[in-house]
């Protein structure tokens, strides 16, 4: 279903026809589908924002908010920034866009604890997020990505907190999904970072031939 739709939309966006506002109905439906079925198509979503840019009277706040939330599910990619560049400043100050902008900033700064708290407290926000199937797990994926690049070992409790205080059994699922291992001391061993993160030495290499050329010029 999603694949068929992707192909159909892909054809719609070919050439000059991508600027046809009559396509908006189909494209907006497609965004809805992405939200429900947990699929993602950045190009189509940007095309919608572009159509809004060209036809401001067609603009729909809820759709724009969905596009932005979907973009967050693709972190660490910078899709959110790309979307932000196409939404007028005054529209960024409307709700729920403003709230989405706020959580995006927390995520970009890796303030995961504050993010989960915010999501818990703010009813309106969690209602918007709820529409996006698998949103929270997508964010957890991003958390795991950041953890896997930053830590060699991380305390179990810290990870639990970063993942939004989910039950222990679920944390363990994430650990096994990424091939990490829980050690006896309560730390999780991520990977051997020493292998990847090494001091680089850059030295100048001058070959005899290149010096010979200069010397030969003076005889």
């Amino acid at each position: 279903m999603a694949d068929a739709m992707r192909a159909q939309v892909g054809a719609l966006l070919k050439g000059i026809d991508r600027y046809n506002p009559e396509n908006l109905v189909t494209l907006e439906k497609y965004i809805n589908m992405q939200a429900q079925e947990n699929t993602y198509d950045l190009e189509a979503n940007l095309a919608v924002l572009k159509l809004y840019q060209f036809n401001p009277n067609h603009y729909q706040t809820t759709v724009a908010a969905q596009v932005l939330l979907k973009a967050l599910t693709n972190l660490p990619h910078t899709d959110f920034t790309l979307c932000k560049c196409l939404i007028d400043l005054n529209k960024q100050e409307e709700e729920p866009i403003m709230k989405v902008m706020h959580i995006a900033e927390m995520l970009e700064m890796c303030q995961f604890k504050s993010f989960w708290e915010c999501l818990k407290i703010d009813q309106e926000l969690s209602a918007s997020v709820h529409v996006i199937t698998g949103f929270e797990d997508s964010i957890r994926k991003f958390v795991c990505h950041v953890v896997s690049t930053t830590y060699q070992t991380i305390p179990f409790d810290t990870l639990t907190e970063l993942l939004g205080n989910i039950p222990e059994s679920q944390v363990k699922q994430w650990i096994s999904k990424y091939g990490w291992s829980l050690q006896n001391d309560g730390n999780i061993y991520i990977t051997n970072q020493e292998e990847n993160i090494k001091t680089k030495n850059i030295t100048e290499k001058i070959t005899f031939e290149s010096v010979a050329g200069i010397m030969a010029a003076y005889k």
Binding site: Y19, N55, I87, Y151, T203
Partner: protein, 574 residues
């Protein structure tokens, strides 16, 4: 006069015009007849013994209001075209009719500019109606002449083009593109690549000027606003996109580039039109035009997407116009910067800056191009400085030394987190963003023509704000190979928990998508090539730095030269 509708194929029905459309030439014919009628009423005194200095400019202040201009245009101008201009135009026309590319290029690059400096430094060239009799009303030539005529007004006439001239120039581009695109077979016209690039470049530039002009409604008279309101189709974004897309399609340039990249013969897929240099090059330049246009609208994804068939790592036959090369790299670099792909931005910008450094002398004889390149050069150094502050890494030595020379202070201020400095650099180096839609003419007080700039500026500054502490953290990390979390937290005057968040942010922001292979500039994989890297193990930060040994090559070469000089002077003493 403004009741003229643009040609059918450029009048967007509701959202965009279909292409090609029958009847597109009707308008053309209509305008042409009108023009001929106007010409027949002109009496151009034929005076041979005039010295060049007697040249009379009949046009008054180009800043007249529209009504006045209209009346004025109907009057019979007493206008005398000096012989030297006449001769030039006839030679120019002959070169185009003979399709002598060398002569066309000579007239275009030398003749026209020399005469401009001599006679039309700040005033317009004679109107096409006046020169029409000189070139026997040669339609093609007059359209091309007008392209130069309006471009010159935009560039040289201090007051800039009037609204009327903006409209007329738009109509002229419509005529030109209709002529090229709506012909049944390929038109028999070849022009130098430089000119073809200039046509596309100028077409977008004028669209940009018009859009910005249109959005500054605070200063406009009611009449002018009414004229704008009455002509929403002129310089409409859909028309501009349509022209570029049509040129891309007509030339099959994407297919050609794909075949070229895979080592095949592009001619085999070029089709009837794409085989001709005119179509092929206009197609290629339109891709670059689309890159620019999408960037101006803040659509960086689409901007890079349109270039997907171009292989920048392979020397290509299309890259012989330096201005086009430089424009391409500037916008690609800018897009990457906005997408937080700093490593790609740095690679793109330093490549082109090196290219400029090595080829700059070649352009010294062409003043206008030289100025343009110098300006772009400064903008790109500024962008590079910004990217390197956000993502320090090693770059080419000669580009680096230029950067140190010119931007050391600015970079230091940015490293210290001076947002003002980022702001001023961004506004200096960014393209002129624009809004694709007309402002709300009914509420002139709330329309802010700087809005498109402010949006892109905000996105960039938000990003900088998120990273603002990273340079400070980096400067501490650089001093150690291992550093306890608590110690760094002390330096940073923050709790360990907060520091951990910043360290994760550091890693997240320094891991960029980097292009690795293929022609698509959008593809890539996550890499971190930043100078300082680290990982956390329990309570300890382990740091990996990039150490650069002292360079001795330059030193030895200098000594070799010095020694040689000494021996030479010793010989002379003997």
């Amino acid at each position: 006069m403004w009741s003229d509708e643009p040609p059918a194929s450029f009048a967007p029905p509701e959202y965009y015009p279909a292409y090609p459309q029958p009847g597109a030439t009707d308008y053309d014919a209509h305008r042409y007849v009108t023009m001929l009628n106007r010409i027949s009423t002109l009496s151009v005194p034929h005076v041979n013994d005039l010295t060049e200095q007697c040249y009379i400019i009949y046009k008054g202040d180009p800043r007249q209001d529209l009504e006045y201009e209209r009346q004025y245009a109907q009057q019979t101008p007493s206008y005398i075209v000096p012989d030297v201009i006449k001769n030039f135009l006839m030679v120019f026309q002959k070169a185009i009719n003979d399709q002598n590319l060398y002569e066309i290029q000579n007239a275009y690059e030398n003749g026209f500019n020399k005469l401009t400096d001599r006679f039309f430094k700040t005033t317009p060239w004679p109107e096409s109606e006046i020169i029409a009799p000189i070139v026997q009303n040669d339609h093609t030539f007059l359209v091309l002449y007008k392209e130069l005529y309006y471009r010159h007004i935009y560039a040289r006439v201090q007051t800039g083009p009037t609204l009327e001239q903006m409209f007329e120039s738009y109509y002229n581009y419509c005529n030109l593109f209709n002529f090229i695109l709506n012909a049944e077979g390929p038109v028999h016209l070849e022009l130098p690549n430089q000119w073809l690039w200039d046509i596309i470049d100028e077409f977008i530039y004028q669209f940009q000027c018009f859009s910005i002009h249109r959005s500054k409604i605070g200063k406009k008279s009611e009449d002018e606003i009414n004229v704008l309101r009455g002509h929403p189709k002129i310089w409409n974004v859909h028309s501009v996109l349509n022209v570029l897309h049509s040129l891309v399609e007509k030339s099959s340039i994407n297919r050609q580039l794909e075949v070229y990249t895979s080592g095949g013969d592009p001619e085999s897929v070029a089709g009837e039109f794409g085989q001709h240099s005119l179509y092929k090059m206009l197609g290629y330049f339109s891709l670059i035009g689309l890159l620019r246009l999408h960037s101006l609208l803040g659509d960086y994804y689409q901007a890079l997407k349109v270039l997907e068939s171009i292989d920048f790592n392979k020397k290509n036959m299309y890259s012989r116009v330096p201005a086009c090369q430089i424009t391409t790299f500037y916008y690609v670099g800018f897009c990457y910067m906005m997408m937080r792909r700093y490593q790609d931005a740095i690679r793109t910008l330093s490549n082109v800056l090196l290219y400029i450094q090595r080829t700059k002398q070649m352009f010294q004889s062409r003043a206008q191009l030289y100025d343009q390149i110098t300006k772009m050069n400064d903008k790109m150094y500024t962008l590079l400085a910004q990217c390197l502050v956000l993502h320090p890494m090693r770059i080419d030595e000669s580009v680096h030394s230029q950067l140190r020379e010119k931007f050391a202070d600015k970079m230091l201020r940015m490293q210290k987190g001076d947002i003002e400095e980022f702001t001023s650099n961004f506004s200096f180096a960014c393209p002129k963003f624009l809004s694709p839609v007309p402002p709300n003419y009914d509420t002139p007080s709330v329309v802010n023509h700087k809005e498109p700039f402010m949006l892109q500026h905000k996105v960039f500054i938000d990003e900088v704000q998120q990273q603002i502490l990273l340079p400070t953290i980096r400067s501490y990390l650089k001093l150690y190979t291992t550093l306890p979390l608590s110690k760094l937290a002390g330096f940073m005057e923050m709790p360990v928990e907060e520091l951990k968040t910043h360290l994760m942010c550091f890693k997240h922001k320094m891991k960029n998508v980097v292009w690795t292979k293929g022609t698509s500039g959008l593809e890539g994989e996550f890499q971190s090539a930043s100078e300082v890297d680290f990982y956390i193990d329990k309570d300890m930060i382990h740091i990996a730095d990039t150490k650069v040994a002292r360079r001795y090559g330059d030193f030895f070469i200098r000594q070799i030269h010095k020694f040689e000089e000494i021996t030479r002077s010793l010989k002379q003493v003997n």
